[in-house]
């Protein structure tokens, strides 16, 4: 398990992503790592860019293993705007190119690449937890 509090978070996306990816909880498999890294990048970027109106604020991130190492859990917490990331409808993938919106794909990618994406709002904080099965039972 690892956990770290980052403040400030402006311009710190890279550092936060590398902290999480360097966790001993991470699997070794390249294909899994690719999906986990992309999900982490999208979630971290959302918070760094949109959580705080003036861009000033903190983020606490961590990883843990559940079910005796079967499941990786990544948690991101911030005290920014109550942003309900999962309330947004998924993008309409059937639209022609002229009508596809530029943007809005980040959380959708997290939902597709991870097994579970769970959001809570608690004590004035957004808590986003992403889970991925990383080993066989």
């Amino acid at each position: 398990m690892i956990k770290k509090h980052f403040n400030p978070i402006q311009q710190k996306s890279g550092e936060i992503i590398e902290f999480l990816m360097s966790s001993p909880d991470m699997p070794k498999d390249d294909n899994l790592l690719f999906k986990i890294r992309l999900s982490i990048e999208e979630a971290v970027e959302n918070i760094v860019n949109y959580a705080y109106n003036d861009g000033v604020g903190w983020m606490e991130v961590g990883t843990d293993l559940e079910n005796t190492g079967l499941i990786l859990s990544v948690t991101l917490k911030d005290a920014g705007i109550h942003f309900k990331p999962l309330a947004k409808p998924d993008p309409d993938l059937s639209l022609p190119v002229e009508q596809r919106e530029i943007g809005g794909l980040g959380i959708y990618l997290c939902k597709k690449l991870m097994d579970d994406v769970i959001y809570h709002y608690e004590d004035g904080c957004n808590i986003l937890t992403m889970k991925k099965k990383i080993a066989q039972e």
């Binding site: 890279g14 992309l38 970027e45 190119v97 002229e98 530029i102 794909l105 990618l109």
Partner: protein
């Protein structure tokens, strides 16, 4: 990430090397901005050595595709790695961008 752009007579060839992520998406945007105008809209992007793309990168491919479509040109992405292709598949970008 390195971007090489070669303008040939009939089309423009772009070679991407490395990871397209949050740290370099704005640089890539600057690199491809000249391709979003002019009357030579056929573009081929060689993705052989493209290791990764985040939604920031996808956003730029969509902008480029929209620009090329509006000028009746063709955009082709070639030799994409399976992991990267999966990101294009999940987001439906494989349906709107020509990937060979």
């Amino acid at each position: 990430m390195d971007v090489t752009i070669n303008k040939e007579e009939s089309k423009t060839i772009v070679v991407l090397n490395g990871r397209l992520d949050t740290t370099n998406a704005s640089k890539f945007q600057q690199d491809i901005e000249p391709l979003m105008e002019g009357d030579n809209p056929d573009i081929e992007i060689d993705c052989t050595n493209m290791e990764y793309t985040s939604s920031q990168g996808l956003r730029l491919f969509l902008m480029l595709q929209k620009s090329v479509t509006s000028r009746a040109g063709n955009l082709i992405l070639t030799n994409m790695k399976p992991q990267v292709k999966e990101v294009f598949d999940i987001t439906g970008f494989s349906n709107i961008i020509n990937i060979l």
